[in-house]
């Protein structure tokens, strides 16, 4: 398989014209002495190479008809997402385990349910991109929720100790902080939904319309994926904060995590 098999010469010309924008930005950066020319060049080349490899890879994947390959690829995506999220959550006890449980359970539950109910066709060209969107969002929400909860705990050690000393269970003592963290982590998702169609046209819908799909069909598909993301994000946020909470306390309901 070569590049011409995935991109037509016509599309390549379009891409070359669009690349002029990058050159203009680099020139502007040079004139304004922003010292970003090499960064911009590397980022542009990386984006080109990565997306071309992805396109080639997806073509191979889409030709695979066995479900097991799709499952393996989704599982690999979830593992990378858990690893990425755990790296951002350094210093948190059992961070990889916490992130992996959150991302695997939330993404799998939603993807499997949607496929089982026939909302999403059981085909690679649907499952891989849509699954990727769900997993990517679950990854971001997991990092956000964990970071927020860690910050809340760091700032409220005394409150937790006071609650425990009054006879609260660890769950009762940390609940107000978990609630705050879950709500805060979901704000971007909920705000995105509120402004969708007013302030911005979501990427999936834009892509489908550009690809020639009827706008109302594109809107329906966009709504499906948004609902999937909201559900998965909510589960990921609750699970990650619950899992983190467990690892902060000892068996005698005492806070063992000290920043």
């Amino acid at each position: 398989m070569n590049l011409e098999q995935i991109i037509s010469p016509e599309d390549l010309v379009r891409l070359a014209i669009a690349s002029v924008l990058i050159i203009l930005v680099m020139v502007l950066s040079h004139i304004r002495k922003l010292e970003m020319v090499s960064d911009l060049a590397i980022a542009s080349i990386r984006a080109f190479v990565q997306l071309m490899i992805l396109a080639l890879f997806l073509q191979v994947i889409f030709d695979l008809k066995e479900l097991i390959w799709i499952v393996i690829i989704l599982a690999a995506m979830m593992t990378i997402a858990a690893y990425t999220s755990a790296r951002r959550a350094r210093g948190i006890p059992r961070s990889f385990q916490v992130c992996a449980i959150s991302i695997f359970v939330s993404s799998s539950a939603i993807i499997v349910t949607m496929v089982a109910l026939g909302v999403i066709p059981q085909r690679a060209e649907y499952l891989i991109p849509l699954g990727g969107m769900v997993i990517g969002n679950a990854m971001n929400i997991t990092s956000l929720a964990l970071e927020r909860l860690r910050g809340e705990v760091d700032n409220n050690i005394m409150m937790i100790d006071n609650m425990l000393a009054l006879g609260a269970t660890s769950r009762q003592a940390i609940f107000p902080l978990v609630k705050k963290s879950v709500r805060a982590s979901l704000i971007p998702t909920v705000d995105n939904m509120k402004t969708m169609g007013l302030v911005w046209i979501p990427g999936l819908m834009s892509g489908m319309i550009i690809g020639g799909m009827d706008p109302s069909m594109a809107a329906v598909f966009q709504l499906i994926i948004i609902f999937m993301i909201l559900a998965s994000n909510t589960i990921a946020s609750i699970l990650s904060t619950m899992e983190l909470s467990k690892s902060l306390f000892g068996p005698a309901e005492q806070l063992v995590y000290r920043p």
Binding site: M158, A165, G167, A252, E253
Partner: protein, 228 residues
């Protein structure tokens, strides 16, 4: 009479360091037991081992002869209340704060007015926002909050250290009045004069060790010139 609390060879480690080294002492029932010593002696750590906010790695702590590890932590902390150095009001009114313990455990709700009278705040404080009280008033509210669970023992970790002299004196008076009831008080203080004023028994700690435990009068008589 058997002691209310017995600590035997209590050892605590944290971060590879020994914070408490084989602390052994006995706290008599319905007395004010003060723990004195310089900063970093392990006084607060010792206090927290009694209600298991910190777990020990060696030794044994008993409440009425029963190992504290045999009790459900939540039940233990209802029986052994605690007041911290810096008062921390929860969100809501003074009443919300005082009711927190009984509401968490689902036990019988106490008479808030009676508790407010006991800590000399007065019943009119009940509906006031807890965060708007002065630090001294907040500390007395925290004492009422701890007593609302009906504990048998009250642990107090430097309860007057963050207060002005006037508020400090009021809290000391409150501690003395509490000691007249059926309550065993374990008070950590770095203020020797305070220990002398309100303690019945004194344990002196240094470098994570308990150097001596004796009646307060005898302690200050014997160690007027300091402990070598």
């Amino acid at each position: 009479m058997s002691p209310k609390i017995e600590a035997k060879n209590v050892t605590v480690r944290a971060g590879g360091k020994e914070i408490l080294h084989q602390v052994t002492t006995e706290v008599p029932e319905n007395q004010v037991f003060t723990v004195v010593g310089p900063s970093g002696a392990g006084k607060s750590t010792f206090l927290r081992t009694i209600n298991r906010l910190i777990d020990i790695v060696g030794g044994d702590i008993r409440l009425d002869g029963e190992p504290v590890t045999a009790l459900e932590p939540v039940i233990l902390r209802q029986r052994v209340g605690m007041v911290f150095q810096i008062p921390l009001p929860f969100e809501g009114t003074v009443e919300d704060n005082i009711m927190m313990g009984p509401r968490l455990s689902g036990s019988k709700e106490p008479d808030v007015g009676e508790l407010l009278d006991m800590v000399s705040l007065g019943r009119s404080f009940s509906d006031r926002k807890a965060s708007e009280l002065s630090v001294g008033e907040q500390q007395r509210m925290c004492i009422a909050r701890a007593i609302a669970n009906g504990p048998e023992v009250l642990l107090m970790d430097e309860p007057t250290a963050s207060l002005d002299p006037e508020s400090s004196r009021k809290v000391e008076d409150l501690i003395l009045s509490l000691s007249e009831g059926n309550l065993t008080l374990v008070l950590v203080t770095h203020n020797m004069d305070q220990g002398r004023r309100i303690g019945d028994w004194t344990m002196y700690m240094r470098d994570g060790r308990s150097l001596t435990t004796m009646e307060t009068g005898e302690f200050f008589e014997r160690y007027q010139g300091g402990i070598a």
